[in-house]
Amino acid sequence: MLQDSGVSSVQFAPIDLDKVEKRVLTTTPRLSDRIFRGVVTSGGLSSLIILGLIFVFLLYEGYSTLHSQGLHFLTGQNWQAVVDDQNRFDAVHSHFGLSAMLIGTLVISVIAIIFGVPISVLTAIFLVFYAPNAIRKSMVTIIDLMAAFPSILFGLWGLFILDPSGEYWAKLIHKYLHWIPFFNMPKDSLYFQKSPFIAGLVLAIMIIPIVTSISREILSQTPLDRVQAAYALGATRWAMIKNVAMPYARSGIVGSAMLGLGRAMGETVAVFTVLNIVYQINWHVLLSAGGNVASMIILKFGEASPQEVKALMAAGLVLFLVTLLVNALADAIVSRTGKSGR
């Protein structure tokens, strides 16, 4: 058509657009690419496979317990593996009820959230909107480093350093706030150390890094034009954060708190180290007795009979499903951030 002849006839011919058919783009990748995509896809599916296998095997091992205990496994309050005089497992008199430890898990995690999340979110706000560059960078490094601390370090620190001074605070809380049921103590028991309260504080510290870093990331994505628009209207920094940044980041922050909750629920070693593990339902958070599912598993595992191990597997399955659920919710909430038209 670059020839003078024939140019216009091709391109300016009136066409009926309805008749134009989309072509199927037939990209047949080479063999090497097909292999590559196959390998990468199967690698990508590894997380699905592993999670699926975890479910299948824990269910397989724990099925007999779940079957014999039924709903009692979740609601029952005692955990007793009874053996008869020939040292054989006595299925009739053995009871595996997880409720004390489930409630313990909940209590400790909620304490962790109550203390950990506000501190983390405020820290994140400080880092995003207040801190000078140098301070921000070093703080971010320090907090990320904290995420890499081994959990047993948190446990030992909690036991040897936090617990003694925590006891003092626990007594103080008990003295002035005992009219709140949770802070009450059963009569005559004045042993405040190694309590769920202390374990919750340790977990609060352990979730600070993850909650802070996710909140920080989400807050720092607050659209700059909205921030500047707020300042241009004469807002103080607090007003800007309250009216622009927090509405934008709210669901993400809730999600990060859920992620923290998931972590707190699954923590094993730190809770085992700090807490005086007693198998009973204990709502008195200041009392030296409690436990969570994970720490109970590691406590009982050492001397468990094969049948009790099956019960522990079932407990592991429950823990797995609960944390999976919490994480799923968290993920759904976090990924919603900024999408709703605020």
């Binding site: 058509m1 670059l2 134009v20 989309k22 072509r23």
Partner: protein
């Protein structure tokens, strides 16, 4: 130079009196003169055969029809410039010419692209072979960051698994053709990122040349560069045009006038982008047939 250059993202020194005086008053006549000052290649006959032909190309992104019914021939040894306002489908069009269009999820197309008479979209076509014959230079210079200058130039050979006996000769030849050899011959083992933006873009041109393409697509190759670098790229394009068919998308009408033999004007007027007019560059800029073309090149819109 002139401060009221109507298109100041591409203002250059050393274009001579004639040009700078033209640039004072933006007009189609001025551009036509620029276009006329270049000796243009107009193939005389069909004897050589058309290198690349686009036949009734349409393009969609999802349900959005972005390009409608474009037919264009590209003759060997010519430079064709595609001009038009943003969003008129120029870039989409050239990406259909080497099958890069399909990388965008939801993309679809209609029509045929004939390379030496064969439809590149025919089932069973080896896409990688097509892209070897129809090379591409992108808007932003993108040398491979992990490779040295020499490795970058020869990257195509490795990527496409082409055996090459004398790599040093090829390296020199490609850098020479891209007008970069003298600047980098002493530091071939430096990283590509150590070069200036303009040098990086010429490195990318050299990289495209190393696989000996028949056609070279350039998607606004100078839009991220300063005027001096732009001039160098344009010189490179002029040198290359004898051996490679070049198709260049540009926002800059001066550039189109300076480097191209043919110019096609694209426009999206509410609906999908269309090609309004095509012709020898000096004609497009001196006697545009379509009113819309005239309005665009005289700066009334766009």
């Amino acid at each position: 130079m002139s401060s009221n250059n109507f298109n100041n993202d591409n203002q250059e020194d050393g274009q001579g009196e004639e040009m700078s005086s033209n640039m004072q008053t933006p007009s189609a006549a001025g551009l036509a003169e620029v276009a006329g000052s270049r000796k243009q290649n107009h193939p005389g006959s069909h004897a050589m055969g058309v290198g690349l032909e686009a036949r009734g190309i349409h393009a969609w992104f999802g349900e959005k029809h972005v390009l409608s019914n474009v037919s264009l021939d590209f003759w060997p040894g010519t430079v064709t410039a595609l001009i038009g306002p943003s969003g008129c489908g120029k870039s989409t069009f050239i990406r259909t010419l080497n099958r890069m269009h399909e990388f965008i999820p939801g993309a679809a197309m209609a029509g045929e692209v004939l390379l030496n008479g064969d439809d590149i979209y025919a089932p069973g076509t080896d896409v990688t072979k097509i892209r070897l014959k129809v090379g591409m230079v992108f808007q932003k210079p993108n040398p491979f960051p992990s490779m040295t200058i020499a490795e970058n130039v020869l990257a195509g050979l490795k990527l496409a698994q082409i055996k090459q006996a004398n790599k040093d000769d090829l390296l020199e030849e490609c850098l020479e053709r891209a007008g970069l050899w003298n600047e980098v011959k002493d530091r071939l083992n430096h990283h590509g990122g150590s070069l200036s933006g303009g040098q990086q873009q010429r490195l990318c041109i050299a990289r495209s040349l190393a696989v000996r393409p028949q056609v070279l697509l350039m998607d606004e190759p100078c839009s991220a560069l300063d005027p001096g670098s732009t001039l160098k790229i344009e010189e490179t394009i002029s040198h290359l045009s004898s051996s490679v068919t070049i198709i260049i998308v540009t926002h800059n009408m001066q550039q189109a006038a300076r480097v191209s033999d043919y110019t096609a004007f694209f426009l999206a007027d509410g609906g999908p982008g269309e090609m309004v007019e095509v012709g020898p560059t000096n004609e497009i800029f001196s006697r545009p047939k379509d009113k819309r073309t005239e309005n665009y090149i005289t700066g009334r819109f766009g």
